[in-house]
């Protein structure tokens, strides 16, 4: 009998080597207690959280928590059903209304996760004769959405406007076209040139879907994302987002002005064939989204944090994913996986949690220490974080 698991041997071997070398497993950290959006207890130690995507720090907001508790009391712990059967409560309609208000769009559809939102929308709207043109560095959920559907998939070089245009022009006359972009790319924290890309897509008759998972709540005047910041909201056909970052809970969504959008509720399998979000989750999400509409001060403070950490890390001698701070993600490029694991562990020992990102999730086989800032990180905490990077960097020989 052939073992179906032998295909995983290279991954098992890589993992064994890393752990055999004495490093703490970077992918099995347990948080014993979470004190706030920026502090948790890990291995009995107070740890500053710098890798949670909790950009706006809404997870412990008193109004958000109260709304969740109330919904638990009023509606119970779960819906046990699909949105199209018994799984739509008033809370699900309320969070969709909050999204329509937040984005000033006509339609909103909530999925059980952000992953499912991409999976569902992309696989459903692009059919067999259609073409999906996407950035090569797109998130796994976008690729999986492509794989679930039957469209022709055409990737182009990351953020390369000319490469996108060339490919659009080569698509056969009359074929349906969907261009899939992200506002902020989560690995390096860089922003897409949406203004040019959306214009070129429209000139070539394509519909445009933008995943704004990492920009919602933070980028743009109203926190609507990179499309808002670059003034192209009206030309974007679909915005995909998540509740698991700035909103501070779990869930995904798509907002759109397409007049036939609502039909997706009946034809989109990852929407239909799964249970809807629990009432407490949609209640916390709706409360959080409405508060994010009026969070200009927090947005300004988050930008300050991002700028300061970016400048400070550069000054210490680290190589960063972007030349300028473009989002709330700052990626520190490590020379290799072993050094990355050593640095990750040294930071954890200092009392700092960041994400270790490694191939194949990363572009160009890079090993990254990915930092995501929170609007609730204080000035003092950012100072502390820089001190920890300095100490861990020197201890591991990453900086001199």
């Amino acid at each position: 009998m052939s073992d179906l698991f032998s295909k995983f041997d290279p991954v098992i071997q890589q993992r064994d080597e890393l752990l055999g070398a004495g490093y703490t497993d970077p992918f099995s950290l347990v948080m014993e207690k979470v004190e706030s959006p920026t502090v948790a207890i890990c291995n009995g130690k107070r740890t500053i959280l710098l890798g949670t995507y909790n950009y706006m720090g809404m997870t412990f907001d008193p109004d958000v928590v109260a709304a969740g508790k109330q919904a638990l009391d009023d509606f119970g712990s779960g819906t046990t059903g699909s949105r199209v059967l018994n799984g739509t409560y008033v809370g699900h309609k309320a969070v969709e209304q909050a999204l329509m208000d937040f984005y000033a769009m006509d339609h909103a559809m909530v999925f059980s996760t952000g992953y499912q939102a991409n999976l569902g929308v992309i696989s459903t709207i692009a059919g067999k004769e259609d073409y999906i043109v996407l950035d090569i560095d797109s998130h796994a959920s976008i690729y999986d959405g492509c794989a679930l559907g039957n469209a022709q998939i055409v990737p182009f070089r990351h953020n390369d406007v000319e490469a996108l245009e060339k490919r659009l022009k080569r698509i056969p006359e009359g074929a349906g076209k969907l261009v899939v972009l992200e506002g902020v790319y989560s690995m390096l924290g860089d922003v897409a040139p949406l203004k040019e890309m959306v214009r070129i897509s429209k000139e070539n008759g394509a519909m445009v879907l933008v995943d704004e998972a990492h920009s919602m709540g933070f980028i743009g005047e109203h926190g609507r994302g990179v499309a808002e910041a670059q003034g192209v909201m009206d030309d974007v056909d679909f915005i995909i987002g998540t509740f698991s970052k700035s909103v501070g809970t779990v869930g995904g969504f798509c907002v759109s002005n397409h007049p036939k959008f609502e039909i997706l509720r009946l034809v989109c399998r990852p929407y239909v064939f799964t249970a809807s979000l629990p009432p407490s989750v949609v209640a916390t999400a709706a409360t959080s989204i409405r508060k994010l509409m009026n969070s200009a001060d927090k947005r300004a403070h988050l930008w300050e944090n991002s700028k300061r950490l970016h400048a400070g890390l550069r000054q210490l001698g680290f190589t960063l994913g972007t030349d300028t701070p473009q989002s709330a993600i700052i990626a520190v490029i490590m020379p290799d996986l072993e050094k990355g694991a050593a640095m990750w562990e040294a930071l954890l020992n200092e009392g700092l949690y960041v994400n270790l990102a490694r191939p194949p999730a990363t572009p160009a086989n890079m090993t990254l220490l990915r930092c995501s800032l929170c609007a609730l990180h204080t000035e003092d905490q950012v100072g502390e974080i820089l001190g920890m990077f300095a100490a861990a960097g020197r201890a591991t020989g990453c900086i001199s």
Binding site: Y131, I136, Q152, V154, R157, I171, P363, A364, N365
Partner: protein, 80 residues
């Protein structure tokens, strides 16, 4: 030279800058196993081929192409 021969010659020329190990190229050379290309190399190479022949090679098509000969055949079909 026949049209296919020309396409083959051009394809071999486009492979050269990415042939870091200096593998001798034949119709049977496999991109993944013999040339050991990763996904980024494939993207760059495919982009050059697309530009040279003014065609579109989707990922769905790429999944069916393992060897240099299969790529040349695909290009012949796409140009037709």
């Amino acid at each position: 030279m026949s049209d296919r021969q020309e396409t083959y010659a051009k394809t071999v020329e486009l492979i050269a800058p990415f042939n870091k190990k200096g593998v001798a190229i034949t119709e049977a050379t496999r991109f993944a196993q013999d040339l050991e290309w990763d996904s980024l190399t494939v993207l760059d190479f495919v982009a050059n081929v697309e530009d040279e022949f003014d065609v579109l090679i989707s990922m769905n098509m790429q999944a069916e192409i393992e060897t240099v000969g299969q790529l040349v055949d695909a290009l012949e079909r796409l140009k037709a």
